[in-house]
Symmetry: C3
Subunit: 357 residues, 3 copies
């Protein structure tokens, strides 16, 4: 069970979830557990029918149940009835987490905070964090240890930057963002001009990265600064770990990208797209809104809205699957064709013979 200092009563939680208590509304919990691991002081939930038997044996103090679930016998825990227990648990976790995270504030020693930087109320700045000149931090910003915030970076209210994330000079981060450890925002785009002697000359990358609001950026994800202008991540985008976003890319709002995917330079993704893991988009392409790209697939052409893409080079998913179904049986196809070649040769010979007759 995950333990928190804060304790919440069934009544508080039910109010928060707009649910209904069955049993003692003063029953209180300090954490959340899986139904099969429930202990006194924990809240658990029941959503997956596979786990139904544990509803009747769990030792948790509170259980979240769907409103339409009919109990087969009386159970010990206090019950909170909600429309959707699975969604409810997420909210409860949020309740505990936000109560906890809200506690962290103040500046730990030693950190390096330029006197030419500004910050709002209730910020946390961890030890060994580096806040360069011209930086502006909003209210409630949390900068964990070993974070580097370069010259003139702006970070909006309530944003959390975890230990060791690096933000190069001039980048703009919005409000309510979460940036995980190891993420690198604003490193130089990969731009080089080939020279006659075979060497490459660096094209300076003097743009920046703009991260709007409500964005989460995973561990070791890299977002390069633009050559000129801005690499732009629009609000609500969620990026998993180890993702590469190249220079001059623009990603539409509420698009979600899974781990190890890469978006090459100057590509433009629409809104509400979903990219599965290890996907890729080639440079300078435009991908429409609500496009889904399957894992390991690679987009090599512009894609209109609402398409589902699969494979590399990516095709519409349904077409790719049909082609791949044949691919699985290619040896049979090959043999069938060889058999036909022989049969047709016999047929031709026989016909010729007949003609000769």
């Amino acid at each position: 069970m995950k333990q928190y200092k804060n304790m919440f009563s069934a009544e508080t939680i039910a109010n928060y979830l707009q649910g209904v208590v069955e049993g003692d509304p003063s029953t209180s919990v300090t954490g959340v557990a899986r139904i099969e691991q429930g202990k006194p002081g924990a809240l658990c939930f029941f959503a997956n029918p596979k786990y139904e038997k544990y509803v009747y044996t769990t030792k948790a103090s509170i259980i979240l149940l769907n409103k339409d679930y009919k109990l087969k016998e009386k159970i010990a825990p206090t019950i909170i009835r909600v429309d959707n227990a699975y969604e409810g648990i997420a909210s409860v976790l949020g309740l505990f987490e936000s109560a906890k995270a809200a506690n962290k504030k103040g500046c730990e020693y030693p950190s390096k905070i330029s006197w030419r930087s500004k910050r709002g109320k209730n910020c946390y700045i961890g030890a060994f964090a580096y806040i360069a000149k011209g930086v502006k931090l909003g209210d409630n910003v949390k900068i964990y240890p070993h974070v580097y915030v370069g010259d003139n970076v702006t970070i909006g209210d309530n944003t959390i930057v975890y230990s060791g994330a690096k933000i190069y000079q001039g980048c703009v981060i919005g409000a309510n963002c979460i940036i995980h450890s190891g993420a690198v925002i604003g490193a130089d785009g990969f731009g080089f001009a080939p020279q006659a002697n075979g060497e490459y000359k660096k094209i300076p990358q003097i743009g920046n990265v703009v991260i709007e609001d409500n964005i989460e950026i995973g561990a070791c994800t890299t977002i390069d600064r633009s050559t000129i202008g801005s690499t732009i991540i629009h609000s609500g985008v969620k990026l998993d770990n180890l993702i590469q976003i190249a220079h001059n890319v623009e990603i539409g709002k509420n698009t979600v990208i899974a781990a190890q995917s890469g978006i090459a330079g100057s590509a433009k993704l629409g809104e509400s797209c979903v990219l599965a893991g290890q996907a890729g988009v080639i440079g300078h392409l435009t991908v429409g809104d609500r496009v889904t790209i399957a894992s390991k697939s690679g987009i090599s052409n512009n894609i209109p809205d609402d398409r589902q893409m699969l494979g590399f080079p990516a095709m519409e998913a349904s077409k790719y699957k049909r082609s791949f179904a044949v691919f699985r049986n290619l040896p049979d196809l090959w043999n069938n064709v060889n058999t036909l070649v022989k049969k047709v040769a016999v047929l031709e010979k026989n016909q010729d013979n007949k003609s000769d007759e």
Copy 2:
């Protein structure tokens, strides 16, 4: 040649390897070299027949030879005969390295070590390391500079965490592990609930990561914390660089994963699997024991024990290879079929004509 402060005699090394000295057992070396680059004071080995000529010219002071290798003429270096010179060299390197690494201990200034943390004997804590409250370090733990160890993390005996690795709160690391620079353990899993308005709401990730014993984790590899419960890496697992292990994943003992592979959320890998580079496993799948997955291949179904998988979507390797062999020749197949279509049309026409006669 790699130079060490420590010096070892042929006798010491032979004892360590359970080998036999031919020549002066007091000959001593301070390092290891390739056979073709051997210098006085170095130990070299001969395993690859391509390098045989150097056995007779190397200037190394000691040479490891297989017991069954017959010298064609007398050589200068002191010889240590072992069953397997290639395996022997690995052990010798370990001898030098462990002698060296064992020296590092004490706390460098400035580091940040919570008075509410505990640690065992002979630990090393580098400058700018951050040890949060509730942390427990075993004996001989080495924490290099810039490492972040979050609240309540436990690290077992003899584990080494290299510069800049980050371990989020509540994670558990076993004994005899090596965690390389840039690795991020325990960042939030990638879990979001889609909302009616197109936005995504974060599902708090309140579990942790459990790393058992004898595990190596490569540079910039990311292992996310579980939503509830633990993401588990069982003992003996070896992870290369830039690997993504998503939340709720479980990896069986002695499984080896090469660089840039990714395991999606809630997937479960068996024991003694081998994943080559850039491989992937889709979420919620179960992969059996001793499964091998070829590089760039992607598992999209549950896989029983002992299979060898290749391609994406992955098929059994032998079947994939047969299909791919035909793929290489698809243009010929296409032409053959077109030729057949024409020939059959002619045959049909001729037959019709005949029927008409």
Copy 3:
């Protein structure tokens, strides 16, 4: 617009670019802007015909134009005529950037600099940087905050190491290199010897990494140290973000590798190769000079010079494309063959019947 402290006149810039001023040579600018966003004090350029209308409306103070471009009417900005405005802008950006970066020097407090390290003139060492014993830094080296430079590392003149990059002991970095945040140079190669009991025993990695001159290494790229000897990156190589270079690899000069590509252990790449994103090369292979490897493609055999490779397993690009064109139509091919099978069966039956007549 990107603002700099330094101000440059049209005359200075024209001299630098070997261009010609039309208008007031004393017109000065402090930054660069896109043509459509030009403001007083900015320099812009015109290269893409799509933007021609802005030539006549931009408010920039200076505009770079190609020598052969004919103005349709008089324009307000001072003009600098160059052979190639697009290449010219890169040089101007470099002028501004180098003027700016050259300013940074001195050691910030607190940093950890071993008294047993050496450094040349005009170095910058940021706060929380760690410079271990035996380190040698050339002139004008810039070490940003949170960088770790291990024992006995050498770094050549003018090299920049951005915040949080990690360089393990004994590695050698040349002159004029740029290493971005999160890069890890010299972590242990991934080498393990399987044991009879199913466990893997670490093979010590006691070599190093040698990075020659004029090399750029992207964010979170990992280059492992050699088992014995050196992993070698030859001069002029450009590596994007999140790339894996395994132990014992050698990369020929002026080779360019895009993000998320991986080179497995002991592979050898030639000179002037170009690898697109998410490409891979399997271990122990040799790839010739001037080979191009398409994105997501994987090399599984030795490749001679000058080949263009695509797919996985990679084939020559033109052949792969022809095969893939058929792959797209495999369901049709399958149907055609099935139709043929039936037709041939009918033909055979009819012929048999005829024979029987």
